[in-house]
Symmetry: C2
Subunit: 521 residues, 2 copies
């Protein structure tokens, strides 16, 4: 194993688990694009009428669907995370695989949540051998301490769909949780007890997996409309009692932060946007469901209403706060990859200009034009940021891998103005650092960092530095903010790590931007 | 060239123009399915932000888009026919190719209409070398007399998308006429002076062509919603003055037949459906825009209203007559591949349960489940039908190739009850014949033929024969109807043809069901 330093100064092995790695070469270098490769070509399926074959797609339960799908030990299975911390499907499928004696699977979810803690047992039992996907919480912790015998791969939303479409991530069987489906496999997420809104994360899985199983607790009369996943891409439909727990799927209590520090950060961010060259009629932005992000949206909406400025669209995770701006006409259109509350689900279901965004449309660098590239402003969170503007969203300062990437890196690369909105430290641990523990998003794609101690503009953006020269906003050098933070918190301890790599952080173009090492117990 | 007799008794050459042919082996034999092939894999594209590259997809006119697309002599270009006989785009592109000195193109439209007559000149000039697609009217006539130096290929709607997805029809550049589009390539057909409704015919072209050019006369602010063709699949956007003539795009005068004979046929067909085992709550059917078909829809709607029976869905070309049933709640949902009038366009735009049907969803035998397979009843037209229930929709009895296939063969194969509704003769030329001039749709997929002289049930459907044993409907043997027709019209003359094959009729699975010979002048 030879190590090569990549474009953000991280040492990347030339291969791991027998797979050659390409080190990150810059946000838009995209070395794979230059290899004259072609997309992944799934097998050619067939479509003969049921009245002739006597074969229906319907399966009584998960086990039958696994058997009929041809799933075998060593294969790759995939899942989407629209049911978030209410999802029952991942655990159900793994349980059935265990009972059927299927082993050595690669698990390729769009994300894993605390509810998926049983995954740890299935790793221990040998049902799962590798994970390619985001791991939030306990599973990440388990993997951090060396629980997985192979190297995990974390990808961005856009990076995952790129990997699937390009053939880097081959899915043998995709299990797609569907709150509403018919017996032919047409499915959506807008009706039923487990309603979750879009099924946007699962589009690529449906299109490129060899076999696709819809898992539903709400079988409706054919044809199920609207269609998020079409019958043309579905092999089997497994009917189960419950696919999820509504309390974990939608958040009934999404709230804007009440912390004065965080509200101050949000206010600074909104003011920065307001004074920026991007604040004009028909501008666009991305929101999330985090407390600061919601506050920025709220303040921005107030400015816009005052000025009679309307946004072209909001891209992102959609909440009732975004829907409110949309309904009031302050925002013209909503692009929606994931929703967080019942108000947003209802709007997604009923409003023609509230549009589902499959991940390739959202952020695939290997599409012919993804949405993040047309976004003016994105405000994003971080666990750490460094003086080179590199951002960490994956690991904590103790080295534990506790979060997925989501669309972070994608939005940062695409948006004209990408802002990190963070407190300068949390519980006496510096967020602004000399060097982030893990580079998730390269500094060259981050334009501004907004903290309660001031706003740092990336020196690469001299146009912005110039633009804000006379602003009354507290524009400061990132190094000054950093020094101040270190004075308060002291230099942070380095994580205690071994020399074994437990996960790769893949950049959206398929290169490796950083690796995560095993943490000592 | 060796000839092999196929499953409908037609002699098929083993190869033509250097391409190996597989003879038709039965409606569901699907020999290609058994070849363990994979889908066509398009090149991997890229998506870098315009603010970085300085490159926009926008082109001033067709010529610039052709140049930037990399189109060269010998390549294949494709078009959709939603603008029908009002389409300007095919002629515009060919004119520009001619000016740019591009020659020997293969033209792969979903259909050609009389407005595309200039295609003949471009064939003569050498701009076009081959046609793979339906030819309605003058171009078909020109090709019939040997005007094309190569062999044309005609495919069904489902067969064309199969050929594209399977890689049998490789498209270098797809030109997609779009009544509404933004500068990033998101496009729909529901707004603007050339509004045509769905863009369903163009989906496969957008997904599988190497390069995709949106051609629009109605550039709107980004993002254009709803999205029929997404920016992720579009390379260039060419803005032109007019993409079409509204008078040729939508028919303002769609009328139910007034001919007493045809009304009688429609009445018989509706009564047959009414008495059939398929007439029950939640049944489904396919409609077209032909005069008899519209009358059947009307009569059927009257029965349903009377009985309080509601249809699950109508599949097909949607007209104001279908929309009327939908609005009155007699039909629950509409699947729409193509619309014919402004009422249908408006409903398609505004009604959530009026769903666009890309052709792969409509009828692709190589998908995992297409819609025609879930259809109870289809009523279809014909130029000729024979005593083996084989249907011809392509040629006239003089051998001239004047019509495309549309979804005829697909619906016949998929629907549980496929009915041909035709007069027994037209202008003293028998429609019911001993042997059709060209086999478009195999008799094994046709269940019933309804004429003004009676209804013939295919003897393969003994269940239906039994079911209608005591019906008062004029159920007759096809041979009896045929004899009666011949008595009136005399035995028809055979077309005067040469021994040169000018076109192949491809079955939906990619095999060859018949060939069309050059007609003597």
């Amino acid at each position: 194993m030879k190590f090569i330093e990549n474009a953000v100064g991280r040492k990347i092995p030339d291969e791991i688990d027998g797979k050659k790695l390409i080190p990150f070469q810059g946000a838009f270098a995209d070395p794979i694009e230059k290899m004259d490769r072609r997309k992944y070509a799934p097998p050619i399926p067939k479509s003969h009428p049921e009245w002739m074959t006597g074969e229906s797609k319907l399966c009584k339960g998960i086990e039958e669907s696994i058997k009929r799908s041809g799933l075998k030990s060593g294969m790759t299975i995939s899942f989407h995370h629209h049911l978030r911390n209410g999802d029952y499907v991942v655990n159900m499928v793994l349980d059935a695989c265990d009972r059927l004696g299927i082993k050595d699977l690669t698990l390729a979810p769009t994300a894993l949540f605390p509810i998926h803690k049983p995954v740890i047992d299935y790793i221990k039992k040998g049902v799962i051998r590798n994970i390619q996907g985001s791991m939030n919480g306990p599973i990440g912790e388990f993997v951090s301490y060396g629980g997985l015998s192979t190297t995990a791969i974390l990808r961005t939303h856009g990076g995952r769909v790129r990997a699937i479409e390009d053939g880097d991530l081959h899915i043998d069987v995709a299990f797609i949780a569907a709150p509403c489906a018919d017996d032919y496999g047409n499915a959506n997420g807008v009706y039923g007890p487990s309603a979750c809104g879009p099924l946007a994360y699962a589009y690529a899985d449906a299109m490129f997996a060899d076999k696709v199983v819809i898992v539903t607790d709400n079988l409706v009369e054919f044809p199920c409309l609207p269609i998020s996943i079409p019958s043309t891409n579905v092999d089997l439909v497994a009917v189960v009692d419950k696919i999820g727990d509504p309390a974990g799927i939608v958040s009934g209590t999404l709230r804007i932060t009440k912390s004065p520090t965080r509200l101050h950060i949000a206010q600074l961010a909104a003011q920065f946007i307001y004074e920026s060259p991007y604040y004009r009629d028909n501008f666009s932005f991305q929101t999330g469901a985090g407390g600061i992000s919601l506050a920025v949206t709220k303040y921005l909406g107030e400015y816009m209403e005052q000025d009679g400025i309307r946004a072209s669209f909001i891209n992102g995770g959609i909440t009732k706060f975004s829907v409110d701006l949309f309904k009031r006409g302050i925002v013209r259109k909503l692009f929606d990859g994931q929703v967080f509350d019942p108000v947003a689900i209802k709007s997604f279901r009923d409003d023609l200009w509230h549009q589902e965004t499959p991940m390739t449309m959202y952020a695939n660098i290997h599409s012919k034009g993804c949405l993040v590239n047309r976004q003016d402003i994105g405000f994003l969170g971080a666990t750490e940021v460094d003086v080179d503007f590199n951002v960490n969203v994956n690991t904590h300062s103790d080295g534990l891998l506790l979060h997925g990437i989501g669309g972070h890196t994608d939005v940062a690369a695409g948006a004209k103005l990408s802002m990190i909105v963070v407190p300068s430290y949390r519980k006496r641990i510096p967020v602004i650092r000399n060097r982030v523990t893990t580079v998730t998003t390269p500094g060259e794609t981050i334009d501004v960092i907004v903290t309660e101690r001031g706003i740092a503009i990336n020196p690469r953006r001299q146009d912005l530095v110039e633009h804000f020269k006379h602003s009354k906003l507290p524009i400061r050098d990132i190094h000054d903010i950093h020094s101040e933070v270190i004075e308060i918190c002291c230099e942070p301890e380095l994580p205690r790590i071994t020399d074994r790599i437990i996960a790769l952080i893949e950049y959206r173009d398929g290169t490796i931007i950083d690796v995560v090492y095993q943490v000592e117990k």
